[in-house]
Amino acid sequence: MTSADSSTPASSTERFSPLHQAHVDAGASFTDFAGWQMPVRYSSDLAEHHAVRHQAGLFDLSHMAEILVEGPDAAAYLDYALAGKLSVIELWQAKYSLLLNENGGIIDDLVVYRRGDAKFLVVANAGNRFPAFDALLARAADFDVVVVDQSDDYALIAVQGPNALAILDATAGVTDLGTDLHFMKYYRITDAFFRGHPLLVARTGYTGEDGFELYLAADQARELWDALVVAGADHGLVPAGLASRDTLRLEAGMPLYGHELTLTTFPAQAGLGKVVNLNKENDFVGRAASVAGPAAGASVLVGLIAAGKRAGRADYAIFRSLDATTADGVITSGALSPTLGYPIAMAYVTPDLARLGTEVYVDVRGTRIPATVTSLPFYTRVK
């Protein structure tokens, strides 16, 4: 049995976060992201990036998609619908997973939170809200489970950085935490209340730092945002936009759907082979294709570092030599790393170039710049 909201894609009219006015008040510049007008930066991408690495940043992620999966078959259903084995995660645990198509390609990457024996929250990318929900709904047909797109009901606020825990501690109105945050591990979640309204506190993120993601009703979002700003004033908290989020996740070697992950990318190519659990007993969508694996010679994701300041960027070609006439790869994300001070990139290259230390050339607008294949992530926080 299934029930759901309409999954008809919205028109191309732009959407606004429930926190839009807070961003306007804070002087944000906006960008279109998957049809949403979201803050790209408030003052300086670099300052926001460094704040998250050294103190804390406050992100509005209300454009992300929240999908409820609930019912007696919820765990078995997710084992069928997704690439991982979600039935084994514990109550209040989170797990990164992939939604595959029959060809073994990636419809979306997701985080799944277990909120009960038979209740899960699936968080999908904003740009994949409808394809992810449609696929999840279609796969529910033979299971006793409901799959509900609750994206419009939720706001999502992330506090990321080494001071995140201290800021949550100091935030007025957060009560009834099911788990003391000081003892909550990474990739765990707990119920709580904010001024009497349900709040989910997850120790997850997309920056490479410690931090929390806070889910609550959209109409409570502004109050929580403002309470976090007040609590963060003594802890170096600054609002941070999507520009800094992108350089932070790139340094942390985290894939971004549409760049490193696509409908025709096999998880194994993206270094995510272990996210696909071929040991689970049940069938799952994409299993046969995953067992067969990508075609021989399929490109693989690598990290690249270079000297100087000129960064290779998404879609720039990779060559094996200065005079090679055909490309041997392509950059999917790249920037001058704010933390490291040199150019970094993620790129798909032919397998023979994937060995660590291999020298390749990036075509930076007509100039071939040497780069070295390196392991991911580029940056790991000191714990």
Partner: protein, 123 residues
């Protein structure tokens, strides 16, 4: 503080300060804001000949790459070494310390007035 109303502009979001036969060129605050934090600037060599409308340099931010177009035909007489070392000057003082190149020209083409440029960017 530069009086931006006395400058001339291009549709590529550059400003031009004309003093005699020398045009000092930079990008506008609007362009700098759109680019985000500038992290790398590449400028033409002093003495090189540039043609109006052609790309003579690059301005890179963390998010994107902007091209520097020559607004006039002429010869580059100076480049701003300070922005090579401190690209953030393009953001902090686009009309002043963030200037990019000086070009000696013979004929000044028709450029946009402050009012025309303001209208172009909707301000």
């Amino acid at each position: 503080m530069t009086d931006t109303s006395t400058l001339q502009y291009t549709a590529e979001h550059e400003w031009v300060l004309v003093e005699g036969s020398i045009a000092t060129v930079g990008i506008t605050a609007y362009a700098a804001e759109k680019l985000g934090d500038v992290v790398f600037v590449e400028l033409p060599e002093v003495g090189s000949t540039v043609a109006s409308g052609t790309v003579v340099g690059e301005i890179e931010s963390t998010k994107s790459v902007g091209e520097l177009f020559a607004p006039v035909n002429g010869t580059v007489t100076a480049t701003n070494d300070q922005v090579i070392d401190s690209p953030e000057l393009v953001n902090s003082d686009p009309f002043g310390e963030g200037w990019l190149i000086k070009v000696e020209f013979e004929v000044l083409p028709t450029l946009l007035t402050f009012a025309e440029y303001s209208a172009l960017i909707g301000e």
